[in-house]
Subunit: 330 residues, 4 copies
Amino acid sequence: MIGFCLVGGGFIGPLHAANIAAHPAAKLAWVVDLDQEIATKVATKHGARATANLDDALLDPQVGAVMICTPPRTHAAIIERVARAGKAIFCEKPVDLDLARVDACAKVLDSAGVPFFVGFNRRFDPSHRAMHDAIRAGDIGRPEMLVLSSRDPEISPPDYVAAMPFGIFYDTMIHDFDMVRWMLAEEPVEITARTACMLDEKENPHRDPDTAMVMLTMESGALVHVNSSFRAVYGYDQRIEAFGSNGMLISRNHQPTALERYDANGVRQDPLLRFFIERYAESYRRELDDFVRAVETGRTPSIGLRDGRRALEIAEAAVASAKSGTAIPL
Amino acid sequence: MIGFCLVGGGFIGPLHAANIAAHPAAKLAWVVDLDQEIATKVATKHGARATANLDDALLDPQVGAVMICTPPRTHAAIIERVARAGKAIFCEKPVDLDLARVDACAKVLDSAGVPFFVGFNRRFDPSHRAMHDAIRAGDIGRPEMLVLSSRDPEISPPDYVAAMPFGIFYDTMIHDFDMVRWMLAEEPVEITARTACMLDEKENPHRDPDTAMVMLTMESGALVHVNSSFRAVYGYDQRIEAFGSNGMLISRNHQPTALERYDANGVRQDPLLRFFIERYAESYRRELDDFVRAVETGRTPSIGLRDGRRALEIAEAAVASAKSGTAIPL
Amino acid sequence: MIGFCLVGGGFIGPLHAANIAAHPAAKLAWVVDLDQEIATKVATKHGARATANLDDALLDPQVGAVMICTPPRTHAAIIERVARAGKAIFCEKPVDLDLARVDACAKVLDSAGVPFFVGFNRRFDPSHRAMHDAIRAGDIGRPEMLVLSSRDPEISPPDYVAAMPFGIFYDTMIHDFDMVRWMLAEEPVEITARTACMLDEKENPHRDPDTAMVMLTMESGALVHVNSSFRAVYGYDQRIEAFGSNGMLISRNHQPTALERYDANGVRQDPLLRFFIERYAESYRRELDDFVRAVETGRTPSIGLRDGRRALEIAEAAVASAKSGTAIPL
Amino acid sequence: MIGFCLVGGGFIGPLHAANIAAHPAAKLAWVVDLDQEIATKVATKHGARATANLDDALLDPQVGAVMICTPPRTHAAIIERVARAGKAIFCEKPVDLDLARVDACAKVLDSAGVPFFVGFNRRFDPSHRAMHDAIRAGDIGRPEMLVLSSRDPEISPPDYVAAMPFGIFYDTMIHDFDMVRWMLAEEPVEITARTACMLDEKENPHRDPDTAMVMLTMESGALVHVNSSFRAVYGYDQRIEAFGSNGMLISRNHQPTALERYDANGVRQDPLLRFFIERYAESYRRELDDFVRAVETGRTPSIGLRDGRRALEIAEAAVASAKSGTAIPL
């Protein structure tokens, strides 16, 4: 039974808290949040203790692992504190938005020798994983093209956008960059990116890119396309298509029900699930399970700091290409 | 090259005329209709001759085959005249609505020895036929259940309904009864039918059944369900499902385009094709081709008088069951 | 917070135990099983107490509700004991297989005045419920036909079959009979049933029906078809189709992933989920939630003894019709 | 009734010949082919006259229109001869592979003033056209992204590939470039292209690109992706997806039947139609009809030389980008 300390009780925190509480081999011991009220609210629901001071939890010998769900820019410092305390770490993506900062983290983690996991949860989605396993098993022969559609139903609030310009690459497509590396089991060597501001001034006051397309060339010569938008009115659009010498795989979208409605206007089904937390509910459960099993058995967690760093590097190159209009080698 | 005489230029007649004209081994020579104007209109379009008198055409040695598209109650007499003239016969279903009359026809056909084909066109629909071939090839093992949905977008005009009470069995499900025999390659031994009048007085003034369900038991013990309605507002609904010891086959509906529309209300596709002539356009072409090849090569046409008679017998039993409330042995 | 006592730790018991443990307003207090080892195993996992003696739990004031998951023939006696102890009751279907016994239960329940719920979980499946709500909202106008496919991937073990002859009606279609009543919000007035033994001697040594079709007429005249089989090799096949004056609704099957595989042989998707516990996982969670909220708020649980009795009555009539070959009025 | 002369009796010629023969307002008068035998074969089937000399046909006053189906490099010269003879022209795409040559043609056409049509048949596919009409009607609001998949089941024979290097742009994607302009009703301003040789030496001895991705930026800022391959083993893959401020449209692939096969391995449907002539059969019929009606009524044909020239220009820029690695302004 692994005792968890959750750091960051907002947004995605309560989801992870519930998954920890429901996991047969995990237990939520502490919830840490600068806002004591939030910490208390999440902790109470699952019989855990609350604090605004991370050290309270790190000193508790029952805590074996720390899950970091705070805003991205705080990740690196927390990772280092937790690593020095010798606890296993599950960190939400991204590790940090600055590569040098990530590298500094890496050194601390290396010397601390604690298990470290980055939460690229999509690797654990049953459909995406079935695709991955099929590619790896050779079902489509040699992979030749990968096409990803990764669209959000709406843009983040203005202050969130202001805090992370080019979030379409750093926050959204970073998941897809990780998917590309994982699906193809190889690295990209070049990227070209183009962006647009399609939302109006009111929705997107900072004129940060809200629409983007990216083209990647992989080491093997395989070609990759990713597209993204912040206003898919029909829901959270998440598709991956892998084309190879022996066939094609498509991981389709999910809908909340399996109901079809026929009338004089046609055949209608539900809009797509709107919220990533619903769409990837199963992924969040499974990534936790993967991390818990890694910590239990002592094996290296399946997604490490290097994966987080590499996705960030690609996002950075995407920004550079979008700004310069040229292809950026990786 | 087989010269055709088309008898009956209304309704389904022009479709058959066009298919004959387009067929590489057939030629439309005559169009016969009591209404000389109709005959002329159809004939002119395809460079054929028009007459109100069937004998004009039967005396023409260039006529090798006659296609009968007149109202059902006139079929038997025309069949006998054409048979005595020694021409091959393609007759729209049903042969007649009276079994004794069908049997009288059979005798004339037997002594004339001319090729005879009943137009159960659905046997030639590519999807239904692929299902048939898969069943016959053993793809689903032993067939155990068959489920057919056979629904029209609207009821026939009142005078048509008045002329053929229980048309839901005699005119619509008669196709399905033929499908059942053909798909399973065996005969039903019992039928139970239930009907309802769901349309209002205005749409269905004669209160003839507009909704029906039927349950059949086959010789092998396989169970069959057929349902029908005269107001499928979403289009012409034509599905067949075959369940067996090794799997299931579903012949789905057809839509006019392959377009999907996603918006905030969901995902929408076209309504089904509304008109049976569009839905079964390919079947009509292929059944003609089958008949032409049979006449050319001298093989017996693939759907004979016995098939027409048998489907009628089942329809009659359906009516008896609906009226009496009891199961009717076949 | 409602303390639950689970009676019956085998089969469906552990699923309910986990759902109770995960529910925010419920707590698993006791697990009762004649086999103390089973009781202990289930109880330990969720921090509950175990016993072979139901009275131990009934005497515990922390127990507010009892969930009955024992074999059907034991339900009635347990219901009566629990009712007399004044606890709320969640009973797996069927209540009993004997109508007189059900009626005796009803009297005890009436005088005890405890909340009682029958676990027809399918009413809580999101797709079926969306269909129900759409019908009730008038989306398809007047309902005219209902078609249900309800097929299991395999037959129950021989001893289970021997203990409950005609299980295809009493155990499987009983769910569909409840669906029919719930979807259409009216009662059937007549039933006709036909069965077959399609499995071989080895799989079905008792020659109990393993394949069945049923036709029902409702008070409104609406027609209903249900079909069932015990060998759907492609998985657990659960579909409902409602046809009405303004359209049609189809609640389709579920698949474990949304992956499509294209190759030279065609386009392939996963087989259906095989196990009803996976297929209806969400239904089990939601029915528990419905029961908990009813008990909390004092409202009558949404599925009562009368519903259980009525579904059983229809199943009994189905058996009578299958045996006699005649239609049975209800 | 418009008399047609078909020039080029091979490959796509017989298809056009049959469509002309079947069209109510068209008649096949002449078939011209350097190989007299081919000309005769096609002509005989439809009661037309055959010749190896185009002038024979151009001198026939019954010829009102000429359909050009010869190899691309012969188009320009034939267009000029036909234009000078004052006949309407239907020319298969591409007009020519050299822009200067196309411009020379344009001058001749301008002074001759004859109707001219380029056969970008995909504009007449019912699904693509429904998408086009929906976009133009504003159904998805402002178009923001377009994603096209355009994959052939196999590469052309080596000599065909040798005769037209970069055929993946000049021969295949040229259709997509036309689709992009037509769907969005605006011009691209920049293109980036990447290619790969994925087929082995035996299949692709000339190492001409067999796999390609392209990214376009449109005047409005909308982003476009096109991908193509010459070995889609699952059939002819033709999909278009339009994303806009109010929704998304997808024109899906076509399959030869609507049959679904369920077994223990999953649910299987037919592979896609393999041959473009089957997939776009309806488009070929409808583009002819559009041309015939334009000639009849005197309106300008809906796809003109400028469209052919523009698609060629984009293809040329794609080649330049693939060779240089830079983005090419248009």
